[in-house]
Symmetry: none
Subunit: 123 residues, 4 copies
């Protein structure tokens, strides 16, 4: 379900956070579904439990999961809200990049190309 890339420069806990968040936002992990326990996931991924612990803490801070003491960790019920919030984030990131691109003389055609279905191919 989750894969760690040891060649990735990003910290391991961050890889876990991003993958779980992504799965939850896309609905692959439905609201209320239970996550593997810290220990279990640590064993599965051959990772220090502290690292998983930290990832779960970060996910809880972001509102992606909630911890029920003694029962486990579960995907939050408010994923729709989080999805909207994430989309706003992406929007402002794109906006900032667009500003930069315009300052460097990008044409409208280029901008349109980047957001078209085959965006990458037009680069």
């Amino acid at each position: 379900m989750i894969r760690i890339d040891y060649r990735d420069a990003r910290p391991i806990y961050e890889q876990v956070v991003d993958q779980v968040e992504s799965l939850a936002l896309r609905g692959a992990l439905p609201s209320g579904s239970q996550l593997p326990s810290v220990r279990q996931l640590a064993v599965e991924l051959s990772i220090n439990p502290n690292t998983i612990q930290r990832a779960y803490a970060e996910l809880e801070r972001r509102g992606v999961i909630y911890a029920a003491k003694g029962r486990g960790n579960f995907i939050s019920d408010d994923m729709a809200v989080l999805r909207t919030r994430r989309l706003e984030e992406i929007g402002s990131q794109i906006g900032a990049l667009v500003v930069q691109a315009r300052a460097l003389g990008a044409t409208e055609a280029q901008l349109q190309g980047w957001i078209s279905e085959k965006g990458e191919g037009m680069a």
Copy 2:
């Protein structure tokens, strides 16, 4: 000319690199113009000279400036090439974000809003 934000998580030397590169790419620092000396800029920004040195070394590596012992640091002549390369980078970054946005259900209208002149305002 350059401002350091200590609340920014990014390292100081990287902030210096990005700001100088941005100024050079936009033409605010014309090709051949001399940068402040390592020591002088260090005093201006109340930063250790080693940190400025590191920033200048990185800028030279990127081809934005060239350094000459005993003379100083100067803006490179090939900014046009670097500008094109940077635009391609921005394009692929936007492309990646667009893919993410679509996966989360972003509409075409939203995407168009983000790249419109008032992109930020529409987020």
Copy 3:
């Protein structure tokens, strides 16, 4: 494994970079293998850790190694590409020297001698 020559005019960090790169390109350090830690190598060579750090940073920039916080530095997987690139570099360097040699009246026999198995002995 690595030796510093203090009589060499080249900076220490550059000597480290070149030796590690050479070992990696020749396959003496296989892809994925872990390098000594910054501190450990610093002790081994009786050098300041900052200097080793700088060497490792340069190696990462060249794509020879990759670094992961809290885990260590590892030899990159794409050594084949880097080997090809390095060969092209050597080729153009030899080409430039050959041009110089011809301008000074070198004979074809001399050139052939230099690239023969016992090249050094014929000089």
Copy 4:
């Protein structure tokens, strides 16, 4: 006769040394011919006289020129010897590069290509 490239990372005095040495080795500056005075060359190139002084000192150390106090600087009479020495130098440099290339798996065909008349074109 001599051109300084301020965008070159190499120190100015070294550029002067190399160009004079090259002209002398190729015979463009015949043995016994007089060089411009330190002051005159400094004015011509818009360079600090100290820099020219240093270049001439290095050229004398290498035996390329000799200084006659009060009369000026002149190209050495032993250029043939220096030319031979320089060729030996180039030979050993090529030899070292060839060793490196072989260690990285270069074929004999590649080596031959690099020293052929159109060496660069084959790279």
